[in-house]
Amino acid sequence: MVPIKLDVALASLSLIFIYAAMAIYTISFLIFVFHIARATSEKKSIRDTSGGLQRAGFIVMGIGALAHGIGVTTRGISASRVPWANMYEFSISGSFLIVLIFMTALAVKEIRVIAAFVNAFALLVLGVATTTFYVQIKTLMPALQSYWLVIHVTVAVLATAFFNIAAALAVAYLLREWAWVQKSKNVLASLVRRVLKMFPDSAKLERLSYRFNVVGFILWSFTLIAGAIWAERAWHRYWGWDTKEVWTFIIWTIYAGYLHANATRGWSGKRSAWLSLVGFAAVLFNFTIVNLFFKGLHVYSGLK
C-alpha cells in the first residue's frame, strides 16, 4: 500500500474554517433569537417588520454553512479520505449535514421556525467537537479502510439529521399541547405561547415530525444492515451484540415502536411525540456516552 500523505497545514486551515463557522453561526443564532423576540412582540407594527430579520438570519447561517462545509472538506482532503473517521470528524460532518438538510428542507415553509434550534444545535456540536473531541489527522487503521465506512457512516449521519429535525418538531408539538403553556397566566407561559404562535398548528407539527422520523427510520434501517455487512467483512460475524450494535438495535426498536404508536389508538399524539424524543435521546447517547465510556469493538485502540 502506498503510504498516504497527511497534510497537517491543511488540517490547521480546516480548523480555522470550523472556528469561523462557529463565529458566524453565533451571529445567525442571535439574529434568529432577535427575530423570535420581535415576531412575538405584543405590538403588531414590530411583528410585521420581523420577516426581514429571519431572511437575514438565513443568509448569515448560509455563509456559516459555507465556512463549515469548507472546514469539513479540507479536513477530508488533508487526510486523503472521508472526514468522518473519529468523533471530531463525525461531529463536524454530522452537524454540517444537519444544517445542509435543514437549509434544503426550508422549501417546506413550516419548518423555518426551528431555525434557531437547528442553528443552536450545530453550534453546540461544533463547540463540543473542537473543545473535547479534537484530534490530529491520522491515517486509517486497516479495519476502517473500507468503502463501507463511506456508506455506513454517511447514512448514519443522514439518519441522525432527520431524527434531529423530527425531535425539534416534536418538542414544539409537546409545548403546544402542554396545558400549562396553553392556560397559565405565568409570564414564561405567555412568552412560550407567543413564540409558539409562529409555529404551524399542532396537527401539522405532528405530521411533519412523523415524516422526518419516517425518512430517518428508513435511513437507520439501512445503517443497521450496512453495519452488519461491514461487520461480516471486518469482524467475521454480521452481528455480535457489540455495544455499538446493541445501541443501533435499541434505537431502531424505539423508532419501530414510535411508528407503531402512530397507528395505535391512544398512543398517537403526545405519547408518540415523547417516544420520538426518547429515540433521539438514544441517538445522542449512542454517539456520546457509548463512544466515550463503553467498551467495544468500535472503540479502536489498535488491532491486537
Binding site: 491520522k138 479502510q145 428508513i218 467475521h236 455480535g240 395505535t264
Partner: protein, 522 residues
C-alpha cells in the same frame, strides 16, 4: 386528523375492541390471543425489547467479551454471581430476552396472517363506495361540471393509475395497494430473518487459530485453538481444506503525527481444497477475508513469534521453535511464555518480553516505541520449580503461574537476560544451560467461520428494507367524484400519512372543471 392517526387500513381486522372476555377456557384463550396480537401489545413488546437490550451494553457479555466477564467476577465477587444467575452476562440468549422476542414474533404472526387474508381480498375487490357525506373528509372540493365530468374523472383517475369503478352517478377510485403489500412483506421478512438467523446460528461454526509463518491449518477440530460450534453442527460440516501461512506483513505509519498507526496487514496464504489439490495463493486483509467453499477465513490479529532454542548445560536441545508472543500495547510490547517441563537438571518456565523497537522509559524499564520490527530486543525472567504440567489439569499456554516457583533470572534482584540480536546466545543462571534467538517470525490470528444462512439473512434484510420503504412512502388513497345537487364534488381519504392528499383533490378539481367548456369553474 383521523386519516393520519389511524394509519392502518380501515379494512384491517381490528383486534383492539377487546373488552371483557367471554366466559370459559376457550373464551379466555381467545381473549388472550386477541390481546397478544393487538397493536398495543406489539408496541409494548417492542419498547420492552429495546429496554431489555440495554443491560447487555452495560455488563460484559460472554459472547462478545469473555475476558470482561472473568474480570467482572474478580472485581465484583459479591455481585457477579447474582448477575450471572439473572443471565446478565448472556443477555441476548437469556430466558427473559428470548421470551420477549418470541412473544413479539408470535404476536407478529398472529397479526400478519389475518392481515394478509384481508389484503388479498382487498386486492381483488372493487374500490369502496363513497361515504354518504363528504363532511368528515378533510380533502374535498365542489365544482360545476358537465355531463362528461364523470367520464373525464374516470379516464383521469385511470391514467393516474388508480383502480377505478363507476357506479351510476359516482366514480370510486383507489391506489397504493402496494403500501399494505410492502407492510406485509416487511413484517413477513422479519419472520424470515429470525428463522434464517436461528438456523444459520445452529449450523454455523467458528474456529480460531494462531498460525505462525510456515505453519499449516487443516480444517478439522484438532487444529483449532478454540472452536465454537452451533447446536446442529456435525463434524462433517467441516469442508476439507488446508491453509498455509506463507508470509505475514504489516505496514505502520512513519509520519510525524501518526507514528505507529497500522495502515495495512497482509497475510499471504496458500490454500488447498484437498490433499492433492492445486495450491492457490491469496492475500487475506482485515476487510478482505478469504472465501473458501464452506468457510470464510478472516484475519483478526497478529504478532511476533521469535524462534528460540533452549539447550541444557551439556548442549542437548530441550526446546526449539517459534514462540507466540501476545501484544500488550499498540506498539507491540509482547509477552511470551515458554514452559520447559523436560529441561535438565530441573524444569523451568520463562516469562519473556519482546520489544520490536526497544526504548527506555525514564524509570529505566524497557518499552517498545514503534510496532515495526526495527530494533528488537528480548528479555526473560526465569522461574524454576514444578510447573504442574503433569497433574492432568489443563493449563493456559499463554500464562505461567509463578506462585510457588523460584525466580532465578530477570527482575531487579536477579541476573538480567537480554537478547539484542538474532543469532545471539545467552547463558542461563543456575546451570540451566543457554538460550539462542535464532530468528523472528510473525504470526496471524485467523478466524474460520461458516454460516450457511448468511445469504438468506441478507435477502430477507433487503426484502424487509424494500417492504419498509414501500410501506412508508407510497401513499394509499381513495378518491371519489360524484354528482350532487348543483354540480359535482370530489373527496379523498388517505390511509396513513399522505402529504399530497389536499393537493390531489385540488388538481383533480381544476382538471375536471377546465374540461367543462362553457361554464366557469368555481
Amino acid at each position: 386528523m383521523a386519516g393520519f392517526r389511524s394509519t392502518r387500513p380501515s379494512d384491517h381486522v381490528d383486534s383492539e375492541e377487546v373488552t371483557s372476555p367471554d366466559i370459559g377456557f376457550r373464551g379466555w384463550l381467545r381473549w388472550f390471543w386477541r390481546q397478544l396480537t393487538s397493536m398495543r401489545t406489539a408496541l409494548f413488546l417492542l419498547l420492552l425489547l429495546a429496554a431489555a437490550a440495554v443491560p447487555g451494553s452495560i455488563y460484559p457479555q460472554r459472547s462478545a467479551d469473555p475476558n470482561g466477564v472473568t474480570l467482572y467476577f474478580q472485581t465484583q465477587p459479591e455481585l457477579a454471581p447474582w448477575l450471572d444467575k439473572l443471565q446478565f452476562f448472556d443477555v441476548y440468549s437469556s430466558a427473559w430476552f428470548s421470551a420477549i422476542y418470541i412473544l413479539l414474533f408470535v404476536s407478529l404472526i398472529g397479526c400478519v396472517v389475518p392481515r394478509t387474508l384481508v389484503h388479498a381480498k382487498a386486492m381483488v375487490s372493487a374500490p369502496a363506495a363513497a361515504p354518504k357525506t363528504f363532511a368528515r373528509l378533510k380533502a374535498k372540493a365542489k365544482f360545476e361540471g358537465s355531463e362528461n365530468t364523470l367520464d373525464n374523472a374516470f379516464t383521469e383517475l385511470k391514467a393516474a393509475r388508480y383502480r377505478v369503478v363507476r357506479n351510476g352517478t359516482e366514480v370510486a377510485a383507489e391506489r397504493g395497494y402496494i403500501r399494505e403489500t410492502g407492510n406485509l412483506v416487511f413484517h413477513i421478512s422479519l419472520i424470515g430473518l429470525l428463522i434464517a438467523v436461528a438456523i444459520g446460528g445452529g449450523l454455523s461454526y467458528s474456529g480460531q487459530r494462531v498460525l505462525i509463518e510456515g505453519e499449516t491449518l487443516v480444517n478439522n477440530l484438532g487444529s483449532y485453538d478454540s472452536f465454537s460450534p452451533g447446536t446442529f453442527f456435525k463434524k462433517d460440516s467441516l469442508t476439507p481444506f488446508s491453509l498455509t501461512l506463507k508470509k505475514f506483513e504489516a505496514d505502520f505509519d512513519l509520519q510525524q503525527v501518526n507514528v505507529g498507526t497500522p495502515t495495512d496487514f497482509r497475510a499471504t496464504v496458500t490454500s488447498k481444497l484437498s490433499v492433492n489439490g492445486k495450491p492457490k495463493n491469496s492475500v487475506i486483509r482485515v476487510n478482505e477475508p478469504l472465501e473458501l467453499p464452506g468457510a470464510n477465513v478472516y484475519l483478526t490479529g497478529n504478532g511476533y513469534a521469535p524462534v528460540l532454542t533452549f539447550r541444557d548445560a551439556s548442549g542437548n536441545v530441550s526446546f526449539s521453535g517459534p514462540v507466540v508472543y501476545l501484544p500488550q500495547d499498540a506498539n507491540y510490547t509482547s509477552l511470551g511464555v515458554i514452559k520447559l517441563p523436560d529441561a535438565s537438571p530441573k524444569q523451568f518456565g520463562v516469562l519473556s518480553f519482546f520489544y520490536p523497537t526497544v526504548a527506555k522509559l525514564q524509570t529505566g524499564a524497557l518499552t517498545s516505541a514503534f510496532p515495526g520490527n526495527a530494533n528488537p530486543v528480548i528479555t526473560m525472567s526465569v522461574y524454576v520449580g514444578n510447573l504442574g504440567l503433569d497433574n492432568g489439569v489443563p493449563s493456559n499456554v499463554f500464562s505461567l503461574a509463578v506462585h510457588g516457583l523460584k525466580q532465578v533470572a530477570g527482575g531487579k534482584k536477579h541476573p538480567k537476560i537480554e537478547l539484542t540480536k538474532e543469532g545471539e546466545t545467552v547463558q542461563l543462571p543456575a546451570g540451566l544451560g543457554s538460550v539462542t534467538w535464532d530468528s523472528t517470525k510473525r504470526y496471524a490470528s485467523l478466524d474460520v467461520d461458516y454460516n450457511p444462512a448468511q445469504l438468506w439473512i441478507f435477502m430477507f434484510a433487503m426484502l424487509a428494507l424494500a417492504g419498509l420503504i414501500t410501506s412508508l412512502l407510497v401513499p394509499r388513497r381513495r378518491v371519489w367524484v360524484r354528482k350532487v345537487a348543483g354540480g359535482f364534488e370530489v373527496g379523498a381519504l388517505a390511509k396513513g400519512d399522505d402529504a399530497r392528499l389536499e393537493q390531489v383533490v385540488e388538481e383533480l378539481k381544476v382538471k375536471l372543471a377546465i374540461k367543462t367548456p362553457k361554464k366557469k369553474a368555481k
